[in-house]
């Protein structure tokens, strides 16, 4: 009796411990989340930022002509120009905001009200701007095409003081402390220290295309396209350099540093955000899904934005502990199983009957431990690469999981919303219509030609001839699926495709079509791909079926002077029904899931003429990044395939 109470107490302790670990896990997760969304909206794709520390005003320049100012989250003004706002520079002391716009102007706004104080016509796309601290000079970079840039210097009244043309893209400009010379960075990977006439005083070679150059206090930072960053002073002495761990082959887009110049933040075109600590160690990576274009640092926060309607914030204080909490989270993630396992042990110990049975089972399992050891790799693999994905798909089909909502914290449970969207967006229904056509024709294809060919080959006299024919009918299967599809794509080519050429040679020019580009013919072109449809697998299965029947059955029918026609319909066909039903089932299952050939041939087009649900699933999973929606489509497809399997099994069982 006393023993039992010990187990009860231990069970309770284990339970409490387990709950504590779960709580700790969620606590750590919060700390590692790192990003906070600011509640401001421009209504369009953002591009550049500027921040007023004293007044807490955030200026956001957008890709889509709008410039807006937000004071403590409230919009105070907005204005418009004719192009994308590529860079903003704030001069808070003089209440001025300098904006480089791709419409070929640099605008100087009154920072508190949004009126245009000065409009400098730079004639070409202005992509970067810098202002001297005493605001006597403005430096601007303009781009023309993909390899011409100019560095222009203007007076505070907008008068052009000088200009230098380069036959290479220049990505950034910063004034030096002397107010006379400039630093510019270019596509060749150089930082040049130049006078305003273009004379090069100094060069720093960073080795790879420089995407952005920023100033932080007395030092300057550049980011190269491949993820290397440099910190250097005005004399171009490198102070610090590092490289992000770019296993995903991302394309760098922007760089930011905190006020102390310790943490470096790097954004990429794909939407990855990398954070490096003062030792140039990568401490945090996340994916926001869209190109990150600008960082702004102030008061212990780092704001950043990109090609969507968002401004996010990272607390510098959180960065310092992020690494720690991240490893804690990992440890706790595994540790969470321990108390619950012990709890189970305690519970078993409480009931002697269960205890005895469990002991027996364990003994048996121990004796056969070799079996479990040998199966371990198999089951570890299918857990990690099959079942986990399936469970995730099942759960997250009911959430708004997407490229931007890619952590559990950001995902929302939305019930059947994804399924509702499926019916509402229309692509799914169009896809189902096309799929039905593909299914019907697919079934017809497997039931006719392969069966006929199998019968023909089976009717041949002589084993050697039989073998050769079988071999030749199967031989085309060696063409890889992708190559076969690409070849058919070329056969349908409107200008040099075999089909149109043959029609031309037969003087049937009026029948020539842009087969894959015409909404009426595209789906039929896909259906007729693979003509004359000698499916090698179906052929072999039917042929095997015919062989199994045995010659005596057929021969005895022959003696009864039945015709071959009769024998086929009355004897052979009924006997290979199982093979036909297997092939029909496999065709249905295959057609529902397969989208390789459509993806290669038309990509679903023209319009939606060849869309199918599986293709929609793939596009949502890859290009659109709507993972939750893709998973919901997966569930629908699974329900279809399971239904087919169940019906098939029921039919076969009935026959037996």
């Amino acid at each position: 009796m006393k023993k039992k109470s010990v187990w009860i107490v231990s069970a309770i302790i284990c339970l409490v411990l387990g709950l504590a670990v779960i709580w700790g896990l969620s606590y750590c997760r919060e700390r590692t989340e790192g990003l906070e969304d600011l509640d401001i909206s421009t209504g369009t794709k953002n591009h550049s930022l500027a921040y007023d520390k004293e007044k807490d005003i955030l200026y956001v320049g957008t890709h889509d002509k709008v410039l807006a100012a937000f004071e403590q989250g409230e919009e105070i003004w907005r204005t418009q120009a004719n192009g994308s706002f590529d860079e903003l520079v704030l001069d808070a002391k003089n209440d001025k905001l300098y904006a480089a716009n791709e419409d070929g102007h640099v605008y100087v706004y009154q920072a508190s009200g949004g009126n245009v104080l000065l409009d400098i016509d730079t004639r070409r796309k202005a992509v970067a701007v810098d202002v001297l601290e005493d605001e006597s000079k403005i430096a601007v970079i303009t781009n023309t095409g993909s390899n011409k840039s100019s560095v222009l210097v203007y007076s505070s009244e907008g008068e052009e003081l000088g200009g230098i043309d380069y036959k290479i893209l220049v990505s950034g400009v910063q004034f030096c402390q002397d107010g006379e010379t400039l630093l510019i960075s270019n596509k060749r990977g150089e930082v040049l220290h130049i006078t305003k006439d273009g004379e090069v005083l100094d060069t720093l070679k960073t080795g790879y295309e420089i995407i952005q150059m920023i100033q932080n206090g007395d030092t300057y930072w550049t980011i190269n396209r491949n993820g290397i960053y440099h910190q250097f002073d005005e004399a171009l002495n490198v102070i610090r350099t590092g490289k992000i761990d770019n296993t995903v082959n991302a394309f760098m887009a922007s760089i930011g540093v905190d006020e102390d110049g310790e943490y470096v933040l790097i954004g990429t075109k794909e939407g990855y955000l990398f954070v490096m600590d003062g030792q140039d160690k990568q401490i945090y990576t996340t994916d926001v899904g869209v190109r990150i274009t600008d960082f702004e640092t102030a008061n212990g926060s780092i704001y950043f934005t990109g090609y969507e309607d968002f401004v996010k914030n990272i607390y510098v204080d959180n960065l310092a502990t992020m690494d720690y909490y991240k490893s804690m989270e990992e440890v706790l993630g595994y540790a969470v199983f321990v108390p619950f396992f012990l709890l189970l042990v305690c519970l078993i110990q409480m009931f002697p009957k269960v205890k005895r049975a469990a002991g027996k089972l364990l003994k048996k399992m121990w004796r056969q431990r070799m079996a479990y050891i040998m199966l371990l790799p198999t089951f570890v693999l299918i857990f990690l690469f099959n079942y986990r994905g399936i469970f995730i798909a099942f759960y997250r089909a009911f959430t708004d999981w997407s490229r931007t909502n890619n952590t559990l914290a950001k995902m929302n449970f939305i019930g059947l919303e994804n399924f509702r969207q499926m019916l509402q967006e229309g692509y799914f229904l169009i896809g189902m219509k096309n799929l039905s056509l593909l299914l019907v024709t697919g079934i017809l294809k497997t039931m006719t030609v392969p069966l006929a060919v199998a019968w023909l080959v089976h009717s041949i006299r002589g084993d050697k001839r039989k073998y050769i024919h079988r071999f030749l009918f199967v031989l085309p299967i060696v063409v890889p699926g992708v190559v076969g599809t690409l070849t058919w794509q070329k056969i349908y080519d409107p200008t040099i495709g075999l089909l149109n050429e043959v029609l031309g040679a037969l003087h049937l020019e009026n029948l020539q079509r842009v087969w894959l580009g015409d909404e009426r013919t595209a789906i039929w072109a896909i259906i007729f791909m693979g003509f004359p449809f000698v499916g090698a697998m179906a052929f072999l299965v039917y042929y095997g079926g015919l062989l199994n029947i045995g010659t005596d059955v057929v021969e005895s029918a022959m003696i009864d002077s039945a015709t071959r026609w009769d024998i086929f319909w009355k004897v052979q066909l009924p006997l290979i029904k199982p093979q036909i039903s297997i092939m029909v089932t496999l065709t249905i299952l295959g057609t529902m899931q397969d989208f390789n050939s459509i993806f290669i041939m038309t990509g679903g087009g023209p319009g939606t003429a060849t869309y199918v649900p599986a293709l929609e699933l793939y596009l949502n999973a890859s290009q659109f990044g709507r993972y939750g929606y893709a998973s919901a489509l997966g569930i629908v497809l699974m329900v279809f395939t399971l239904t087919v399997t169940v019906i098939k099994n029921a039919l076969t069982r009935e026959k037996e």
Binding site: A371, L381, I382, V474, P480
Partner: protein, 281 residues
């Protein structure tokens, strides 16, 4: 006598007719292959100006050009493929052996766990698996291909191996056990040698499967140096555009050659592998 010869005459006529029909069907079935071969030897000028003519002189440059572009991914594909096939065989033999010869608690359940996967379509978890690969840190590595391939590929392999090993006489294993063989010895010395036929079928079947994979590599591999041949051929096609059509077809031929060679040497196994899935159905 007369009757027999009449019958023979009818038989000859019948054989002639079916031969004609088969040659016709075969001709059409081979049209894409003819197109590939003929075009791959023609220059761009000839393709545009003399579509139907056979190549006047053989353009080996097409092959040189295609080979230089596809060589890297071909070597990569064959290496990754061979590695994955070997792992699949090891897992299949081991799993099949355990399920066929050993008796342990949970056997039925575990086997069922495997079987269920055959019923679930792969597209269901496409988005989830893509994200898992990223979270495992395998994105854009060759492991992103190998692990999912062997994980899915072993399932049918285990089923086939189990059936094959179960068909072996039980005494064989009992006798060896009495002689003092451990489970690993039984597997390596008895089960594997006797299951060689089915293992070779699985090997050929999986080589073809892995070689043909297209969507998954396209999703998880970004570097050209790690890309597989099917995706590389498609990229090469878009790069060649309308200016280098001969080379494009030469690329198709090059991509076909490994499977052609495999088929020529193992045609029986190749065909068995193709129908193995259907027979299990």
């Amino acid at each position: 006598m007369k009757k027999i010869s009449k019958r023979r005459a009818r038989e000859i006529r019948f054989q002639t007719i079916i031969e004609i029909i088969m040659v016709l069907i075969m001709f059409f079935a081979f049209v894409p292959i003819f197109v590939m071969v003929i075009m791959s030897f023609k220059s761009n000028w000839e393709i545009y100006n003399n579509f139907f003519a056979l190549p006047r002189h053989i353009e080996w440059d097409n092959y040189r050009n295609a080979f230089s572009k596809l060589y890297g991914s071909m070597v990569n594909t064959l290496a990754v493929n061979a590695f994955a096939v070997v792992l699949t065989l090891i897992l299949s033999a081991m799993g099949g052996f355990v399920f066929a010869t050993m008796d342990f608690p949970g056997k039925g359940f575990l086997y069922y766990v495997l079987l269920v996967l055959m019923m679930i379509p792969g597209v269901l978890s496409l988005a989830a698996n893509y994200n898992l690969i990223i979270s495992y840190g395998l994105f854009n590595t060759r492991w992103a291909l190998i692990f999912p391939w062997i994980s899915g590929g072993q399932i049918l392999g285990i089923i086939l191996c189990r059936n094959s090993i179960e068909a072996l006489p039980k005494d064989l294993f009992e006798a060896a056990k009495i002689e003092g063989c451990g489970q690993m010895d039984l597997l390596a010395r008895i089960a594997v040698p006797l299951a060689k036929p089915i293992l070779s079928t699985i090997a050929v079947m999986k080589m073809v499967d892995y070689y043909n994979d297209f969507i998954w590599p396209m999703l998880v591999i970004e570097s050209n140096s790690k890309q597989v041949i099917t995706v590389a051929v498609r990229v090469f096609t878009s790069a060649a555009g309308t200016t280098n059509i001969g080379a494009m077809f030469a690329g198709y031929i090059i991509a076909t050659i490994p499977l052609l060679v495999l088929f020529l040497f193992t045609s029986r196994l190749y065909m068995e592998g193709m129908t193995a899935g259907a027979v299990k159905g």
